[in-house]
Symmetry: C2
Subunit: 515 residues, 2 copies
């Protein structure tokens, strides 16, 4: 047994049994070790952004971390944007990044770089395994960090640590740390505020957005007149007909300010304090009032469902109001040119029960959330960190975690091109993913933002940087090139027909919805 074998065994002992990978020469001993462990499922991404985005989607749905395998600093660099999203989603993940043999670093061989410096900004925890003797401790610490923070743990594996002989003793499962305790004092303050006539907003994210804790939160709100609000973007929400409907804080700072104007006390449960996504001249940086009391009651390191249940109990909040059902969204017109909204409307009506929606539709799909409150019950996964290119890989990972559930990816075209290679992995794994590309042939958000900085008429340079036309992307050809069937819709009727086809099939399918 060498270090790489032992690392595999340690991962498996902790039930980490999926590894999204794109290895290189420095990881060959680890690949050889994985090859000796058929109980580890290895999934290749043709680019590391696929690898890390898929690990994110997997963990969001599986509720446990996947491993990734990345090649040196450049491989980690390629995976960084989706690690950023995973860190912002508080997704548990264990990155294994190969490095040169420790004694080889002195020669500054061509692929040498400072891996820790690259890893730190997008990881919650980083360590290089100094020797094979540290393997058990370091892997255990990485696992504990990933599941308890929860977040991204990056474990750097030098080649000589991988190939050195390791102990033959049985590996031990790492004790999973207990959830972080809630401060009784803070909780008392929150309960008092909820009983007072202050206007309280409870902002939820993380596991607080699952169906059961949302019912408890809804009962608390009904009892106390507190207002519930979800973060602007969330890793996973359980929603749809029969579940509690919750508003999300608007993305645009002006609207967010308006939404929070009346809030005296902001209680954060699994959420972080909201801030404007970007700064703008003469606009505020945060949506809440200067005199708003912001209480960080619990992070995702705590047991949020238990907390909400306890709060409901202490407040005597037992009644979950029936959802004020807006009913199914009205159907889109039967035909005519497609728009982002008509696509969203048709999808919202067609979601099969138990589906997983991965939403990276950005500007074109802005109406989807509001249209899908009464869709069939589903999970809803979003772009959490603003680093575009998560949709296709996120869908892959979610599908591998939930092979019996249909995954629907609402994908903006500009963002989708970032990790388009993920379609190939969907084909290879026969992932049951329906990808809907909302093709508006622009970076729509940036058109809006250019107007925000006072530019309404674009010249040549702005047009060249903000538009994706000339030439138009042919997504059906792109998908075909990677083994995924698909079709192109420009009208409502065409889209309706392709949607039916895509939902009826098992396996990957792509619809280019030109809007």
């Amino acid at each position: 047994m060498n270090g790489a074998d032992r690392l595999c065994d340690l991962l498996l002992a902790n039930d980490v049994d999926v590894c999204f990978a794109n290895p290189g020469t420095s990881e060959m001993h680890f690949v050889a070790a994985l090859d000796r462990k058929p109980e580890m499922r290895c999934v290749l991404g043709l680019f590391e952004g696929v690898v890390t985005g898929a690990a994110d989607g997997y963990a969001r749905m599986a509720g446990k971390p996947a491993a990734t395998l990345l090649h040196l600093g450049p491989g980690l660099g390629n995976g960084l944007a989706n690690l950023h999203n995973a860190r912002r989603a508080e997704t548990p993940m264990i990155n294994i990044v190969g490095d040169h043999a420790t004694y080889h670093l002195q020669y500054d061989a061509p692929l040498t770089s400072d891996i820790e410096s690259i890893a730190r900004p997008m990881s919650n925890w980083v360590r290089t395994i100094a020797s094979v003797d540290a393997m058990d401790r370091d892997t255990g610490d990485a696992y504990a960090a990933a599941v308890s923070l929860p977040g991204v743990a990056t474990l750097i594996l030098p080649a000589d640590v991988a190939w050195s002989p390791a102990a033959e003793t049985p590996v031990e499962r790492t004790e999973r740390p207990l959830p972080a305790a809630i401060s009784e004092e803070l909780l008392g303050t929150v309960i008092d505020a909820l009983r007072s006539d202050q206007r309280v907003m409870i902002m939820l994210s993380g596991t607080a957005l699952r169906a059961e804790p949302l019912r408890a939160a809804s009962a608390i709100a009904a009892k106390t007149k507190a207002r519930l609000m979800a973060q602007t973007s969330n890793a996973r929400m359980e929603r749809g007909a029969g579940r509690v409907t919750i508003e999300k804080l608007p993305y645009r700072i002006d609207l967010a300010v308006e939404t929070m104007r009346d809030v005296d006390v902001l209680v954060l449960i699994g959420a972080i304090a909201p801030a404007a996504f970007f700064a703008y001249p003469s606009k505020p940086g945060v949506p809440y009032r200067d005199d708003c009391d912001v209480i960080h009651l619990a992070s995702s390191a705590s047991d949020l469902p238990a907390l909400l249940s306890r709060m409901a109990h202490e407040l005597g909040a037992t009644e979950v109001p029936s959802p004020s059902s807006p009913g199914q969204p009205t159907a889109a017109p039967e035909d005519g040119a497609l728009t982002g909204e008509s696509v969203c409307r048709m999808v919202a009506r067609a979601i099969p029960e138990g589906a997983v929606i991965c939403d990276e539709s950005i500007s074109s799909g802005a109406s989807f959330y509001g249209l899908s409150h009464e869709s069939a019950p589903h999970d809803y996964l979003e772009l959490t960190g603003g680093a575009i290119g998560v949709g296709i890989p996120l869908s892959l990972g979610a599908s591998l975690a939930c092979p019996d559930r249909k995954v629907i990816c609402l994908q903006a075209d500009g963002s989708g091109m970032y990790t388009v290679q993920g379609l190939w992995s969907q084909a290879r794994e026969n992932a049951d993913v329906l990808t809907i590309v909302l093709a508006n042939r622009t970076y729509g958000t940036l058109h809006f933002e250019m107007r925000n900085v006072g530019v309404n008429q674009f010249g040549e340079n702005a047009s060249m940087m903000l538009n994706l036309d000339k030439p138009d992307l042919d997504w059906v050809s792109l998908a075909k090139g990677m083994g995924v069937d698909g079709g192109h819709a420009t009208t409502v009727a065409e889209f309706a027909s392709l949607l039916k086809t895509g939902l009826a099939r098992k396996g990957p399918f792509l619809i280019q919805a030109s809007i």
Copy 2:
């Protein structure tokens, strides 16, 4: 005029007039400023690896830096692998990376990250512009660093620095630093060694590999019996019929050791001391003998052509030996199944005079270099840092720098998928690039390396991680999806026909050569 306008003016004053870009919201003021400067050519990449790889290719051929425009930490992260290659190529480049407004960082908005930490490992120079007052100095320093090191300078532009009012005074061109001086003492030592009976190897890279300095080096070698050697990978070589033929140090450490067994003195001119690309158990880390005297005579910061000319003069080396012409490579068989070698053979015979070859063919194109010594004169650009995914963007950049020259990209399939989005930019810019995908449907290098670690029979996991089949990639569909025409060849005759077509056209074309 705001900070962003002034930054544009400073770049233009230094003849930096091409900007490869993928901007986001935090860069909108810079985009607006670029829009007011039609003399700056803005080229969009649909992924930042395209942006940085194209800037590398542009500068290698233009001999001056391009700017890049990248969005925050994740955008920089996406560009990191090709920055790594550019740094290893010693390519001058100025990255402009947008950041949040300085006062907004405190809120840890979703896209916040430590940009400097991400930038440092792949940059030779990094600075955040602290205020608009520092704009002239910092931009000048970035330019000076990029051209004099030469290397990658990363300038971080906070949004509020971009939008703040700036001085209206005329901008000044930055004085270009003089080339680094050569140590007279070291030069004396080298001249003495060359006159002695020690066995001297002169290892060249950088501008020493252009046609004229290679003639001087060849004369020196003829006069002194020194042996010339190029680095294993080089940013740019001028080669082909009538030019000096130079061997490259083999990639495989065993062969490199064999090549250097007799070397008593290694003189580095523009090259760095060679090291094994990777460490292997019980193999040496460097190819030269322990007692070899390694002399770092000159880095790329010096004027290498002038140095070689002076050395030739001092040594009285005036005779450039006529090339021992191996003649044109023999033709490939007229038909039959394609192999990597037959593709290389046909391309070597067909290279048009003045072409630029961007070679990321990795294992499949290993024979190309040896087969093309007597091809028509051409420039030869390689993957310098080992971070795969440079070929397609490098070709784009080289073509924009040299629009009247045919660019031929020899592209391995696994590597090509990393930045496949670059084909779209080739179509948009109508870049005259012929991309030849050597499709072997595996990570060929890793098959070799797995055997190196003793694994000859792959199980399920190794096969899943090292093979690109299931499904096979259809490169012609991928290219079509991005507006690039192409064709698929499985036989010598089919390839010969497509090669003729591709070379005759002006504009991008792709051939999938299934080998």
